[in-house]
Amino acid sequence: MSETRQHNTDDYIRMYKQMVRIRAFEDNANRLYLSAKMPGLTHMYSGQEAVAVGICEALTIEDKITSTHRGHGHCVAKGANFREMFCELLGKEEGYCRGKGGSMHIADQSNGNLGANAIVGGSMGIATGSALTAKRLGNGQVTVCFFGDGATAQGLWYEVMNMAALWKLPVIYACENNGYSEYTKTDEIAAGSLVARAEAFGIEAFQVDGQDVLAVNNLAQQLAERCRNGEGPFFIELNTYRYHGHHVGDINRDYYRSKDEEAEWKKLRDPITNFGKWLEDQKILSADELVALNEEIAADAEAAVTYALSAKYPEAHEVNMHVYADNSA
């Protein structure tokens, strides 16, 4: 951990909890898939928790985020509940999107999450537009655009960076560089330097250890503040790692990534383990308290799964609803 204590204790504990909640969510989602209880595929966020939590803990509930196909972590970190999330993953009516979006489109506008996106890079414009709204309405909101290293290959990013820079929009482009874009190593599909790409548009750019929740959070706080002062946009490259395959079905993956590499990240750089140790060192939580907290969250997640499994599907007539918003309002 890069830091000694600066926040108050509650902040630290909440960050830890949120990371554990993401991990618990994903473990359950993965089990649902493996036991054939989940429709479709999904992409696990496990390993990257410090990114979503470090950043979202620097935001207010009104601030906005846009998310990706690997979006459960962002959703939890921005304040979502397990129940509505699992219901969504299972296509149930009580899901955040009434089961219509599923894992890849989960959105939670009540907490400022404008939604996951199944088009790689697809939300870069949306995030930038959200920042345009903030600027135009002068509401002081910041928008964070999460995306992966692979998404930097989408031309859209360069277009919106240019406009964000010209118009000084309060948006933070947060690139979670987990080293892979599907089944391919990042260096095979990204020439030059990501940081330099943002800088070329006159955007201040940063690199940070995405496994260190405090480092991420400190940077995010500074940049969010500076955005509110009209100093945006910014770019952050966060180095991180996904523990699972590209999606839950990507099990035999030795051909592109070694087991040793995976084991090493998990052993040495796990964001939760390391932050837990730091909390112990700082005497913020005891080992027992950490265990209790983990267990409580695991129980919560399982309860939510149980609930979601027996929740009802949307009625057939819903298939035609929400194609168009009505204009009465």
Binding site: G115, G125, M163, W167
Partner: protein
Amino acid sequence: MTREITFSIAVNEAIAEEMRRDPTVVLLGEDVAEAGTPFKVLSGLVEEFGTDRVIDTPISEPGFMGIAVGAAMTGLRPIVDLMFGDFLYLVMDQLCNQAAKTHYMSGGKLTVPLVLRTNMGATRRSAAQHSQSLQALVAHIPGLKVAMPSSAYEAKGLMKTAIRDNNPVVIFEDKLMYNDKAEVPEEEFLIPFGEANIKRIGQDVTFVATSSMVQVAEEAAEKLSAEGISAEIVDPRTLVPLDEGTILESVRKTSRAIVIDEGHQSYGVTAELAARISEKAFYHLDAPVIRMGAMDVPVPFSPALEDLTVPTADGLVANARKICRGELVHAA
């Protein structure tokens, strides 16, 4: 009440009125501010509303389309100006994967109230990449509404409705009509979506025509009336929602229909119109529904070729004559 204004001024008025009424309406596009677009349709708006609301963008169609989607999701009502309809291809992902689906995918929680105004229409000698009429592409995508104003009157009334709509709306303006005048009331009015306009009443054949093809239909109807053939003209005004009822009612009355649209004929708007009429007015039809779309060729530059590619009044007259006189068409 009886003043006449151009199509171009009608669009400008509609946008200005709505921007006055609603401070969340903003305009976004290339050279929309000082230049007022190459067609000068937006002249004067930046002077009234300032560069915060009339925003010049770089040549980044996917980018500013995406920005408009995000702005619409969070409280603005952006009007995106896409300089040529041919650039639709560049914004399809943001328009069709994002804007069109967000409301549905979010279970009704997020809305994307935006207007994409763009154009269509050949015979301007602008060649294959500046002459396309691509309304069929967007009409096919659920979640989008599609308007095709056929005169200054519709241009104003539909634009105002589009801006107030809580959904993404694509408006196609025929670039060749910008200087055409029509009566447009001074008082405020809106034209509801999904209500076709019976532009001319007739008994023998129904012409369902979109955008500038309504003019073609009117010219043909005049000529035909001299021959004793009475044509009814129905202008759907919006392709989505489509006022099927009015169209079918007309065809059930006349028993004959010709559908005319300037998009390519195959897999185009004429297919949908003809298929619906053929299916749903089947027992009333005295002749096959004739389709007149643009030829299935990229729009050629040469004037000698370009004019051959679009539906004309003469072609329409010839077709109408055939089916009204009971000549068998495709009777092989």
